[in-house]
């Protein structure tokens, strides 16, 4: 038994311990990330209307802005004012839309909507606080210039532009 214990301690003592320090580096810096929370979808409640309203089987697009530094960025979201791809449309298409804050990660952001500014279809928010902001856009397209003409059959695509501009 004694010999066994001595042998054991020798084994333990003789074993080399291999170790190495590996550095993991990174930096924390101001950043703005624009995410697609919900991609939108047009519903077709009648022949002359395309809308993202949920009551008409559409889906409102939602963008998420993550910022890590206060007062570093403006968030700008624009609802569509033209189709990027569609069948040939000889008549006029009228566009209506809204942009509004849907959700926030801190109560300090509750004043963003009231303090936002608009320029045409674009609404700008000054991201005065770090955190996450969800912005929802709605879009309605009507064909025929008030005469309710039916949209030709085919695929329609319009773009919501979400921008994060450094202040």
């Amino acid at each position: 038994m004694k010999k066994l214990l001595i042998t054991l301690s020798l084994i333990l003592g003789a074993t080399p311990i291999l170790a190495e320090n590996i550095d993991v580096t990174g930096t924390v810096q101001s950043r703005c990330t624009v995410n697609v929370d919900t991609p939108g979808m047009y519903g077709n409640p009648n022949a002359y209307t395309l809308t993202t309203a949920s009551a008409s089987s559409g889906v409102d697009p939602i963008v998420r802005f993550d910022v890590t530094l206060a007062d570093a960025y403006h968030a700008q979201v624009s609802y569509p004012t033209a189709f990027t791809s569609s069948p040939s449309l000889p008549d006029t298409v009228s566009w209506v839309g809204t942009v509004a804050v849907a959700q926030m990660s801190t109560s300090d952001q509750s004043g963003y909507q009231a303090a936002s500014t608009t320029s045409g279809s674009m609404r700008q928010y000054a991201l005065a606080h770090a955190g996450t902001l969800w912005v929802k856009a709605t879009s309605i397209a009507t064909y025929g210039g008030g005469q309710a003409k039916a949209f030709p059959g085919g695929a329609y695509k319009a773009v919501v532009l979400a921008q994060c501009i450094a202040q």
Binding site: N35, V36, T84, A162, A166
Partner: protein, 128 residues
């Protein structure tokens, strides 16, 4: 605390995002006289986007001539790209924003597409 909150949100939810840093890049000396460069990092977590277009603009959003390896660069899903942007020294005082814009593809479903653009800013001398 907010950074950890933001990070957790990124990890905890389905992420379809786009990010470009640094927020305030600076011009550096390049290999050639009369040319300055800056290095940007672009991260893509949008599965539906593989290409981003780079642009340099002045205060009034007019384009400024510049050179990168690719003006429309391919950035795979969940990967990042570092790229250098070169401009003439004479344009530096006008260059205000450097932006990356997602390039979207079409398919057969009627939907709204979400284009994302992130712009970093070159601070003017009076802002430094």
């Amino acid at each position: 605390m907010y950074r950890s909150v933001a990070l957790c949100l990124l990890l905890c939810s389905s992420v379809l995002g786009h990010e470009m840093t640094p927020t305030y890049p600076e011009w550096q000396v390049s290999y050639s006289g009369g040319i300055k460069k800056t290095t940007m990092r672009l991260w893509n977590s949008r599965e539906d986007v593989q290409y981003y277009e780079i642009g340099v603009f002045d205060d009034e959003w007019k384009p400024i001539p510049f050179v990168t390896s690719y003006k429309i660069m391919k950035v795979d899903y969940l990967s990042q790209v570092k790229f250098d942007v070169y401009i003439r020294e004479t344009n530096i005082k006008d260059a205000r924003y450097i932006c990356s814009l997602s390039k979207l593809r079409s398919d057969n479903v009627s939907k709204t597409l979400l284009a994302t653009r992130i712009c970093s800013k070159f601070k003017a001398a009076w802002e430094l």
